[in-house]
Homo-oligomer: 316 residues x 2
Amino acid sequence: MSELRWHPFLGEWVVTATHRQERTFFPPEGFCPLCPTKPGGPPTEIPCDNYEIAVFENKFPSLRTPPLPPEVGGSDLIPARPSDGVCEVVCYSPDHDATLAGLPLRQIRKLVRVWRDRYIDLIARPTVRYVYIFENKGKEIGVTLSHPHGQIYAYPFIPRAIGNRLDAERRHFERRGTRLAQDWLAEETKDGRRVVWESDAWIAVVPTFARYPYETHLAPKSHVPNLRALDDTGLDGLAEGLRVVTQKLDRLFGFSMPYIMSLFQHEADYTWLIVELNPPYRTADKLKYLAGSEAACGVFINDTLPEETAARLRAL
Amino acid sequence: MSELRWHPFLGEWVVTATHRQERTFFPPEGFCPLCPTKPGGPPTEIPCDNYEIAVFENKFPSLRTPPLPPEVGGSDLIPARPSDGVCEVVCYSPDHDATLAGLPLRQIRKLVRVWRDRYIDLIARPTVRYVYIFENKGKEIGVTLSHPHGQIYAYPFIPRAIGNRLDAERRHFERRGTRLAQDWLAEETKDGRRVVWESDAWIAVVPTFARYPYETHLAPKSHVPNLRALDDTGLDGLAEGLRVVTQKLDRLFGFSMPYIMSLFQHEADYTWLIVELNPPYRTADKLKYLAGSEAACGVFINDTLPEETAARLRAL
């Protein structure tokens, strides 16, 4: 059973997908479904004995094409609709123990090209409205497979939080004729205290308005709405920035840092490609939890000063 | 340092409050700051040797009156403002090992009366725009003090998610002349499959659009916008419902269930008092994590069917 149900109070679609409850299976000792299939060994998700980067559809997808028919159905007040869309898994490396931060730069260059290809393919599909490329990393985020991988969700609607974001960017552009991200980055550059790293074409900052203690945004310095708009030089610059930022996060507390990494991008010309990394730690041994204020009201409480956390990351 | 910073992409205020980082102190063995002060013992937050229900201002408040002056300051694009408001702690019982579910009904009747008093007092203050009564319960939610207690945040703005909610209720009322909660509850009552419990005047349901597996909403059957509108009978009915629902959640997996409990209410006549309980467990040993889709896009994936989880809770 899988369908989308409308939350009439919050104005958002909820994916109700019961077949996923069984998704945590217990593979045999030493078996990883995201590793290449060893000759003579049990088949993994990737039926060959090596790969550079592998992309395949999630075995337990929240969204699929064609979708399952809605089972329970909806009403005028609380509509239900098929959970159309695509869920893909992106394996970053055949090396089970690798992490994005530890990959050779040439491998990250390949990865951003794979992301670009998948974005261009998925956003062109008639039922897809938003393509969300992301990585949930670490058991603190609930990840059960440690093999380095990310995911791509192609939603059949604009997600609520993405809609808020695109609206804010559109309104800013209509009112001022400049892009919101452009004006924000100009302020960050001028102030300088929250800049973590920069190259000729890319900049990483802990934004003034950070919701998580070590929240880091990586963005191009000049206008790039999405991965499609990046040429080879731009893609290499993104790869370099990803490597630098994830390595800084690993050095912060001396362990491989868990995070939610999100690529925000869209077709609209007023938007701006931003890679946001949100690590859940506020100190080396304390997690930032999303409790009542954050989860129910949308009011984040950040116990750290972005001016200070950025300085720590910059120095690493 | 404590100030509010505007998130220009998401349109929400972020509380930046650095003094809270030190809030986890290590009390002496056997010492609980929320217990009554024992004669001759170290002083707790409550300077008397017994109490029924105690309310006091949080020692490490995110919001305070008068607020600290903003330190870093904002800009036209990213305004900053003082983090005005009130953060209160509500101790449910002097018994350190109690939980809301285990309190005698007469004690829960007192608690809802305390909530009502605090709501009426705080919402009348000139700088307060929203009063959020809630309980974060359990280490899974990041709670470090196990003494039974809840909190109240009086925000100097309408929180973003609350604004979405009130807008949806207002638009529904303007369009149809009925209240959104009223029409939704009528559908739940008619369908019946998701009803967990009901009395003459109160109903508890796992809503069609549940985002968490055992998300339970407790609401009055006829129009009550907020706690102020409840008379003694209404308050007693709410207390009974809270007791029934929290006891069902405890029986579900055989342990004291953690949760985020939120009271949604406001002064507007089109709104409706709803107590929402969100336990983080999806099975007895698996947590529901808020990862990329939920935390960054606002798209929740519920791996359970509300029709089934409600039936389980109903039967307990």
